[in-house]
C-alpha cells in the first residue's frame, strides 16, 4: 500500500488525536443560507439603512453642496449595507462566528461546505469546492460579458447613426463608462476565475485550493459588487468613462457611488483570490512537480495573481479617496481646494496598466498550454516562456506613466517611461517566440481551441505593433485620446484577451462541464466574431489616424465612413458572439458526454475522470517529468547524425 492513500483522518484515528465534536447536522447555519437569503437580507438591510439614513440627512439645509454630500453619503451607506447584508445572508461570516463560539469545523462540516450531496443547489450556496467556484465564476464572467457586449452594441449604434443623436449625452456617456468597467472586470475574471479555480488545482494535482472558504468569499464578494455597478444606470449613470478622472467624477450623479462601492468590493475579491491562487500554486503542487515541471498555464495564473495582488490596492485606494471626496466633502482630487488631479491619475494607472497584463498573461499562457496538445509537440523552450512572463511581471510595474505623457505632469517622465514601455515588448516577444517555435514544423490537429491560437496571434501582431507606436511620446502627442488608442487596446484586450479566453475555455470545456462543445456551431460563431472584429477595429484605426477623439457621440463628417464600417463590424461581432453563446449553452445542456481525456493531453487535470470527483484524484499523483513529452525524434536530426557519422565535408 502506497503512502498516498493514508488519509489524515486515518492517521488521527490511529494516533488518538481528538476530533472536533459534531453539533447538530453537518453544515450548521450554512444549511439555511443561499443566494436568495443573501439577496433578501442585503435588500432588507439596504432599505432599512436608506430609511433611517434619510431621516438623519439634513435635507433642509440651505447649503447645496452639503445636501449633495448628504445624499451621496446616504447612497453610499445603502450600497455598503447591501454588500454587508448579502454577505451575512449567504453565510460568509458563519465560519468566524463559529470559531468565536469555540466550535471547530468537523470533517462532515467540511464535506457539506464543499457541496457534497446537494445536487445543482450547491451552485447557489456558499460552497467551497474549487470546481463549484470555478463554474460560478464562468457563468458570472459570461453574464458580465453579455452586459458589456450589449452596451458596446448601443455605443456603436450611436456612432453609426451619424445624422442624429440616438441617446442623450448623459446616457451615452454612462454606457461608455459602464461598458468599459464591466468589460474590464469580466476580462480580469474570465480566465483567472473559471480556469484558475477549476482547472489550476487539478493541473498541479491538488485536492482543492489552499483556502477553500476564502475561495467562496472571493466569488460572492464579486457577486455582491456587480449590482451596485449596474444600478448606476438607474441613478444617473457614470458619465466619465471607465477611468472616472477626477474632478469630473465629483460632478457625477449618485450613480458614481455605485461604481466606487463596486471597485472597492471587487478589489477585496481579487485580493483574496490572489492570495488563494498564489498560496495554492506555491504550496500545494503534487509530489515531484518541481518548478520546471509546472505547466506554463499555472505560471501564467501565478503571474496574474501576483500582479493583481500587488497593484489592485492602488485602484481601490484611489476609489476610497474619491468616495471620501463625494461623501464627506474632502478634497483629495479637487484642485480648487488643494487636491491634485495627477494624484488620481497616478493611483489609477498604477493598477490600470498592470491590469492589462493580468488579462493578457493568463490568456497567452493558456494558449501555450493547449497548442502543444493540438500540434503533438513539446512546448518550445519552456524557460523562455517563463522568462517572458517574469519579465512582463517585473516591467509592468514601471510603465504606468505612459498613460500620462500629455497630462502636463512631469514632462521629463516621458523619457524613462518611454524606455520602459518599449522594453516590455521584448518579454512579450518571448511569448510570441514560444508560440512560433511550438508551431514550427508541427502538424496541426485543426480543432476550435487550436484555431483560436492563430486568431490570437494575428491580433497580437496588430495590437503589439500599434502598441509600440503609442509607447512613443511624439506619436502619442497625436494619438493620445483618439480612436487609434481604442482600436489598439481592443486588439489586445479583446483580440488577445477575449479570443484567448474563448480558446482556453473551449479547450477545458469538456473537463469543466462534462460535455463536448458543439464545435461546428462554435466555430461559425467564433469566426464570424473574428471577422467582424477585424472590420470594426481596423476601420477604427483609420478614424483614429484621421483624428477622431474617443468617447464622443457626434463628430466631423470626415469620420462618417469609417464609423459606419465599424458599426457594421460591431453588429457582426454581436451576431458571432450570440452564435457562440448558443453553442456553449446548448452543448452544456444537451451536448455529448465528454470522455475523461478527449484531447489526449498529458497534463494532470485530464488524467482524472470526468465529471471530476469531489476529491479530484483517487490517489494523489506523483509527477516525474514536465507535461510536454509529445513528439517523435526529429527526422532531420537523424540525417544530420548520419552526416556526422560519415563526416561529410562539403567544399573541402
Amino acid at each position: 500500500m502506497s503512502t498516498d492513500v493514508i488519509l489524515t483522518t486515518d492517521i488521527h484515528e490511529q494516533m488518538g488525536v481528538p476530533q472536533p465534536r459534531q453539533r447538530g447536522k453537518a453544515g450548521g447555519f450554512l444549511r439555511h443560507t443561499n443566494v436568495l437569503t443573501g439577496s433578501a437580507l442585503g435588500i432588507i438591510l439596504s432599505v432599512v439603512t436608506y430609511a433611517i439614513g434619510s431621516k438623519l440627512v439634513p435635507w433642509g439645509t440651505q447649503n447645496e453642496d452639503y445636501s449633495q454630500v448628504g445624499l451621496n453619503a446616504l447612497v453610499g451607506a445603502t450600497y455598503v449595507a447591501w454588500v454587508i447584508g448579502f454577505m451575512i445572508g449567504i453565510g460568509a461570516f458563519a465560519g468566524p462566528v463559529r470559531w468565536m463560539m469555540g466550535h471547530d469545523i468537523t470533517h462532515d462540516d467540511s464535506e457539506y461546505l464543499a457541496g457534497k450531496g446537494q445536487g445543482k443547489w450547491k451552485y447557489w450556496k456558499y460552497t467551497t469546492d474549487h470546481k463549484v467556484v470555478g463554474l460560478q465564476y464562468l457563468v458570472m464572467a459570461l453574464v458580465l460579458l453579455g452586459f458589456g457586449g450589449f452596451f458596446a452594441m448601443l455605443i456603436r449604434t450611436e456612432l453609426g447613426v451619424t445624422w442624429s443623436e440616438v441617446f442623450d449625452p448623459n446616457f451615452y456617456n454612462s454606457i461608455v463608462g459602464t461598458h468599459g468597467i464591466v468589460m474590464i472586470i469580466a476580462m480580469i475574471i474570465v480566465i483567472a476565475g473559471p480556469l484558475g479555480n477549476f482547472i489550476m488545482p487539478l493541473m498541479i494535482g491538488a485536492r482543492d485550493m489552499a483556502f477553500p472558504r476564502l475561495n467562496a468569499l472571493s466569488f460572492w464578494l464579486l457577486f455582491a459588487a456587480v449590482p451596485p455597478l449596474l444600478s448606476n444606470l438607474l441613478l444617473g449613470g457614470i458619465r466619465d468613462g471607465w477611468t472616472v478622472y477626477q474632478p469630473l467624477g465629483t460632478q457625477a450623479p449618485i450613480g458614481m457611488i455605485g461604481y466606487q462601492i463596486c471597485i472597492i468590493t471587487f478589489a477585496f475579491s481579487t485580493g483574496i483570490a490572489g492570495v488563494n491562487l498564489i498560496t495554492t500554486i506555491v504550496t500545494m503542487r503534487a509530489r515531484g512537480m518541481t518548478w520546471n515541471r509546472v505547466p506554463i498555464f499555472v505560471i501564467g495564473i501565478l503571474a496574474a495573481a501576483i500582479m493583481g495582488l500587488v497593484w489592485f490596492p492602488m485602484f481601490q485606494y484611489s476609489q476610497v479617496l474619491a468616495f471620501s471626496d463625494k461623501v464627506v466633502g474632502s478634497s483629495f482630487f479637487i484642485p480648487q481646494e488643494g487636491g491634485s488631479v495627477w494624484l488620481y491619475e497616478n493611483l489609477f494607472w498604477l493598477l490600470g496598466h498592470p491590469e492589462v497584463y493580468v488579462i493578457l498573461v493568463p490568456a497567452m499562457a493558456g494558449l501555450l498550454e493547449l497548442m502543444v496538445v493540438f500540434l503533438r509537440k513539446p512546448l518550445f523552450s519552456y524557460k523562455v516562456a517563463v522568462a517572458g512572463i517574469a519579465g512582463i511581471v517585473g516591467l509592468s510595474s514601471v510603465v504606468w506613466v505612459h498613460h500620462m505623457y500629455l497630462t502636463g505632469w512631469a514632462p521629463s517622465a516621458g523619457y524613462p517611461f518611454m524606455l520602459s514601455t518599449e522594453l516590455i515588448s521584448i518579454p512579450f516577444g518571448f511569448l510570441v517566440l514560444v508560440m512560433l517555435g511550438t508551431m514550427w514544423r508541427g502538424k496541426v490537429w485543426s480543432r476550435l481551441p487550436m484555431m483560436t491560437v492563430y486568431a490570437v496571434l494575428w491580433c497580437n501582431i496588430i495590437g503589439g505593433i500599434t502598441g509600440v507606436y503609442l509607447s512613443d511620446v511624439p506619436v502619442d502627442q497625436y494619438m493620445h485620446g483618439s480612436m487609434f488608442v481604442v482600436a489598439h487596446f481592443h486588439f489586445m484586450l479583446m483580440g488577445v484577451g477575449l479570443f484567448g479566453a474563448i480558446g482556453t475555455i473551449t479547450y477545458w470545456f469538456p473537463k469543466m462541464t462534462g460535455k463536448m462543445l458543439n464545435e461546428r456551431i462554435g466555430s461559425i460563431g467564433f469566426w464570424v466574431a473574428f471577422f467582424g472584429f477585424q472590420v470594426t477595429f481596423g476601420s477604427m484605426f483609420i478614424a483614429g489616424l484621421q483624428g477622431q477623439p474617443r468617447r464622443v457621440l457626434q463628430f466631423d463628417n470626415a469620420f462618417e465612413i469609417s464609423n459606419w464600417i465599424s458599426t457594421i463590424g460591431a453588429y457582426t461581432i454581436g451576431v458571432g458572439m450570440l452564435i457562440f453563446l448558443y453553442a456553449i449553452i446548448t452543448s452544456w445542456r444537451i451536448g455529448t458526454i465528454a470522455p475523461a481525456n478527449p484531447w489526449g493531453s498529458k497534463t494532470l487535470e485530464w488524467q482524472t475522470e470526468t465529471p471530476v470527483p469531489l476529491d479530484n484524484f483517487p490517489v494523489l499523483p506523483v509527477v516525474t517529468s514536465d507535461p510536454y513529452g509529445y513528439g517523435v525524434p526529429d527526422p532531420y536530426d537523424a540525417i544530420e547524425r548520419k552526416m556526422t557519422d560519415e563526416n561529410v565535408k562539403v567544399g573541402a
Binding site: Y245, K377, G442, K443, Y454, P621, V648
Partner: protein, 289 residues
C-alpha cells in the same frame, strides 16, 4: 505527465556532442535547402513588401485634413512612417510562420487525438538568441529614435529651435488657453488681452500656449499641428508650436470632460502676419510686434 511515467528522462535522451559535425556553412546551406524554410522565407519577403505600403497609407490618412501644418507634426508623421517600416519585418515573419503552420506543415482532422506526432523540438539556441537579439535591437532602435525625436519636438514646442534646427530668434506669441465645460477661450496677453473663441495666429511665428482649465480636465488638441496637452484645473501646462501652413485647422478636446465633450471643438486659423494684425485691430487690440 502521466501518473506513472516510464519514459527515460529528457537528460538521458540528449546525444553527446558529436566531435565531427558538418561545418556550420554546410549546415546552414542544408537548412536553407529544406522546402519549408524556403517557403517561409519567400512568404516573409512577400509579406514584408506587402506591409511597406502601409507606411504611406498611414500618412495618407493622417494628412486628409491638411496635416502636417507644423514642424512638430512633420516629426510625428516621420516617426509613424519609420516605425511602420521597422515593424514590417516583425509582422511579416510572424505572419509567415502563422500562415505556414496553418497551411504548410499539414493538418489532421477528426475527433480522436492524432496518432502521428510532430518532431519533438524542445529548444533551439540559435532561434532563441536570434529572436531575442533581433527584437532587442529593434526595440533599442525604437527607443533611441523616440528619445531623440522627443528631445526634438520638445525643443520645437518650446520655440528654442526652428524647423531648420537653427536657434530661434523670433519673439514668441503668448496665448493663454482656457478650457471650460464645453468651450475653449483664447486670450492674447500681449495684445491687450483680447479674447476669442477661435484661435487666430500668424504663420511662422512661434506660439507659446499657457493651458489651464476652469473646471475639469480637458485636453487641448490642435490636430493638424500635432499639439496636445492636458488642460488641468489649478495648474498651467505649457506647450508650443510654430504653424507653417496657411489655412483653417481643427482644435478638439481629447479628454472626456462631461456631457458635451463631443461638441467641445473649435478652429485655428493660420493667417499671414498682415491679416493677423488686421484681426487684432478689429478685435480692439494693439499691433503685434
Amino acid at each position: 505527465m502521466s501518473i506513472v511515467d516510464e519514459r527515460p528522462t529528457a537528460e538521458a535522451d540528449e546525444p553527446e556532442e558529436p566531435t565531427n559535425r558538418p561545418e556550420p556553412s554546410y549546415r546552414l546551406r542544408e537548412w536553407l535547402s529544406r522546402p519549408y524554410v524556403r517557403h517561409i522565407l519567400i512568404l516573409f519577403v512577400i509579406l514584408t513588401l506587402a506591409v511597406i505600403p502601409a507606411a504611406w497609407l498611414v500618412l495618407h490618412f493622417m494628412n486628409l485634413s491638411g496635416a502636417p501644418a507644423s514642424a512638430v507634426m512633420y516629426e510625428i508623421e516621420r516617426t509613424m512612417f519609420v516605425f511602420t517600416l521597422a515593424s514590417a519585418p516583425v509582422m511579416a515573419i510572424t505572419a509567415a510562420i502563422l500562415l505556414y503552420s496553418l497551411l504548410g506543415w499539414g493538418r489532421v482532422r477528426g475527433e480522436e487525438p492524432p496518432m502521428q506526432e510532430s518532431p519533438a523540438i524542445r529548444s533551439n539556441p540559435i532561434a532563441i538568441v536570434g529572436w531575442i537579439s533581433a527584437t532587442s535591437l529593434l526595440a533599442a532602435f525604437l527607443v533611441i529614435w523616440g528619445l531623440v525625436e522627443l528631445a526634438n519636438i520638445t525643443a520645437l514646442s518650446n520655440g528654442t529651435t526652428s524647423a531648420n534646427e537653427q536657434p530661434n530668434t523670433a519673439k514668441p506669441l503668448d496665448i493663454n488657453v482656457t478650457g471650460q465645460q464645453w468651450v475653449w477661450t483664447f486670450e492674447y496677453p500681449d495684445q491687450q488681452s483680447i479674447t476669442s473663441d477661435v484661435l487666430v495666429v500668424p504663420i511662422d511665428v512661434p506660439l507659446y500656449f499657457n493651458v489651464t482649465s476652469k473646471d475639469v480636465i480637458h485636453n487641448f488638441w490642435v490636430v493638424e499641428l500635432g499639439v496636445k496637452i492636458d488642460a488641468n484645473p489649478g495648474a498651467i501646462t505649457n506647450t508650443g508650436v510654430t504653424p507653417n501652413k496657411l489655412g483653417n485647422f481643427n482644435i478638439r478636446c481629447a479628454e472626456l470632460c462631461g456631457l458635451h465633450h463631443a461638441y467641445m471643438e473649435t478652429q485655428i486659423k493660420v493667417v499671414t502676419q498682415d491679416q493677423f494684425d488686421a484681426w487684432v485691430r478689429e478685435m480692439g487690440g494693439k499691433k503685434f510686434v
